[in-house]
Subunit: 395 residues, 2 copies
């Protein structure tokens, strides 16, 4: 354990500021921010701290013994983490996108340099999902991890389903409250959930699946008809990240809106909250729930990573080294609700079995069984169309 932590912080956005506030409230003063690197030095940050716009000023400061990276730019974040590990500086990162693309390489580098590298705050803000998967579900009984991983889209969906707000109005409200990312596609097209799912999958099942291989569909084309369909079935639409191990050892993962029935835990996860259901043989189900967005909760989660780093805690990636035969697969079928307008759009999806069909002057839909591999095959063709896809689980 290190006696005193002096942080070199990159980024002072909402989470960076959150960390600053949380640290200010902590009693023991053995963790301090020594220097903060930001892109725009001229901006008034409203706090008295040593700012710089030169990364070297951080890396060349001999007092700094931990790097915390909380910036938006994934590529820049990648270089910061690499440089920290190469310099044997323990590093905490919150950049999901960067992690989703570079984790295998950075894990390897962390091992080679024997340097702690933590990122619990990157997935689900204040819910300690990664460390739970690492520390607790550490045997091969784990079956699935399924959850609401993005607070902003869930906030919008809550407003729609609980308060009959329109999509546009709910989105504007989310942006006003600072819940939505500056690029709404990250939240609402499921990118953010996807990045988190990739990270969780490494810790849950020990395999890395590159984001571009994974089926991802968001809520930005959802319309009144879809909301009505869900409500008529007494369900709510939730944007869900889901990874599951099949009996044959194949692991599939996808991010997709799901029609969730009332008796499911995640049905009641409202507003900007995140909720994750972990299912295991013999464990049955466990549910973790907490604030998934916001500077202070995420800042507090980053502080937990920092404290863990201070105690030389490391992820062990036990399942990556378990020797079990676990591989990525898309060989699974699910019941899907598919709303479309034109015949051309209708033909995009290959149904193994059609269970319901509805056509009218206004809208058309099919409910039927579709293989994930077929969804993956057409995923790039789905964008920009007046269609909507949601998983429609049997129960």
């Amino acid at each position: 354990m290190k006696k005193e932590i002096k942080i070199g912080l990159f980024g002072f956005g909402s989470v960076g500021r959150g960390l600053y506030d949380v640290l200010g409230a902590v009693e023991g003063k053995d963790i301090t921010i020594r220097r903060i690197c930001v892109r725009d030095l001229s901006k008034d940050r409203g706090v008295s701290a040593e700012f710089t716009d030169q990364p070297d000023r951080i890396f060349e400061d001999p007092e700094i013994n931990m790097i915390v990276e909380l910036i938006d730019d994934a590529e820049a974040a990648y270089y910061i983490v690499r440089r920290a590990l190469e310099a044997h500086l323990p590093v905490v990162s919150g950049n999901k996108k960067m992690l989703a693309y570079h984790l295998p390489e950075l894990i390897e580098l962390g091992k080679q340099t024997a340097t702690p590298f933590l990122y619990d705050a990157s997935a689900c803000g204040s819910i300690p999902v990664i460390r739970n998967l690492e520390e607790y579900y550490d045997n091969d009984l784990l079956v699935s991890v399924k959850g609401i991983l993005n607070g902003s889209s869930n906030f919008v969906l809550s407003k729609i389903f609980n308060e009959n707000m329109t999509y546009d109005k709910a989105l504007r409200l989310a942006q006003e409250l600072g819940f939505a990312e500056s690029d709404p596609s990250l939240d609402f097209d499921g990118w953010d959930s996807l990045f988190k799912l990739v990270i969780l999958t490494i810790h849950a099942f020990g395999i890395y699946v590159a984001p571009e291989k994974i089926f991802r569909y968001g809520i930005s084309t959802m319309n009144e008809a879809d909301i009505r369909f869900a409500s008529e079935k007494q369900r709510r639409i939730k944007l869900v990240g889901h990874v599951e191990k099949k009996n044959d050892g194949g692991v599939y993962l996808w991010v997709v809106p799901q029609l969730i029935s009332r008796d499911k835990y995640i049905y009641s996860v409202e507003d900007e909250f995140n909720g994750v259901v972990i299912k295991g043989r013999y464990y049955y189900k466990q549910f973790m729930f907490g604030r998934g967005a916001g500077g202070h909760p995420t800042g507090a989660a980053v502080l937990s990573d920092i404290t863990a780093c201070k105690y030389d805690y490391r992820y062990e990636y036990k399942r990556m080294n378990s020797g079990l035969d676990i591989r990525h697969t898309d060989d699974v079928c699910h019941r899907i609700y598919f709303r479309y307008r034109t015949e051309e759009d209708r033909n995009l999806l290959k149904f193994q079995l059609i269970r319901e069909q509805y056509t009218s002057g206004e809208w058309n839909y099919v409910v039927g069984d579709v293989c994930l591999s077929d969804l993956v095959a057409v995923k790039d063709s789905l964008a920009g169309r007046d269609i909507f896809i949601a998983a429609y689980p049997w129960n």
Copy 2:
């Protein structure tokens, strides 16, 4: 990390059997039960394993490199754990009562002998509360831990409030389903919750408070009037273990039935489930939920402890060594609902402020503010009376 774990198991009740089943289902066969010590060798266990009734046969077996203790008898469990630690054998224990009385000494012994000693399965079955407190909430932002820690009493309360079952019928059903301990007082008078709360408090706030110092009240005197009172207020009665740090650093803890309003997470924790709300400054609230009783879920939790032991994981008891000024206190007042029959009973409780009073031919109650220190002072006089006490939080 040890390559192969050969377990010497003490006890083959519901949890021991659960562990046996779960281990049988695990793919990698690097964890096996080598020998099982039971009290009654003549009983047919229905499994093919090496049974013995001689502890020495376990401790003197050079092949055995981990002890797992899952017996009912707290004193015997204590000697097993001591002996294991003294022999430098990693040990996993599930005996809450034993832990609640002997933890400080055993923690010290574990340190002296540098031998792993884990007991996550002892508190809340399959919910990894201890490890979460250890690994995640490891800074002094933690404010409170509050939850339904006992599945059997919660099962009974659920049946009463959801299905209008009588207390007696619900209790019989719980016993038939195997949820209730053989001694119902453990579950229904709050002892089981109390033991777990003592364990959680060590990990949450770094202080040990002996069970006999803590106010504990259960649900066994709850009657129709109390149920009606709760229902009229749109609340449910839940048996709650609660530890909280006051602003002045004092930590108070108690086990008491609470009138829980509908907007609280634990309001919806039903049947034999456990649910724990962890509150922190900046984190706000987190909620963990899972099966709190039953051989298989608890067996799976024990297996997680075993796997963690295999990886030489240890609790660090960071907060016990944090140097922060944290001490036990009863100096706090709460709003209480108190139902009584006689004037003598009425005078047991010292109210700082009376907010409501009701008397009738059938029953009487007072709602008012009582100091925890005054409750502790009279706690031994409360047993065996036709009274009922429940916390009645403002919201």
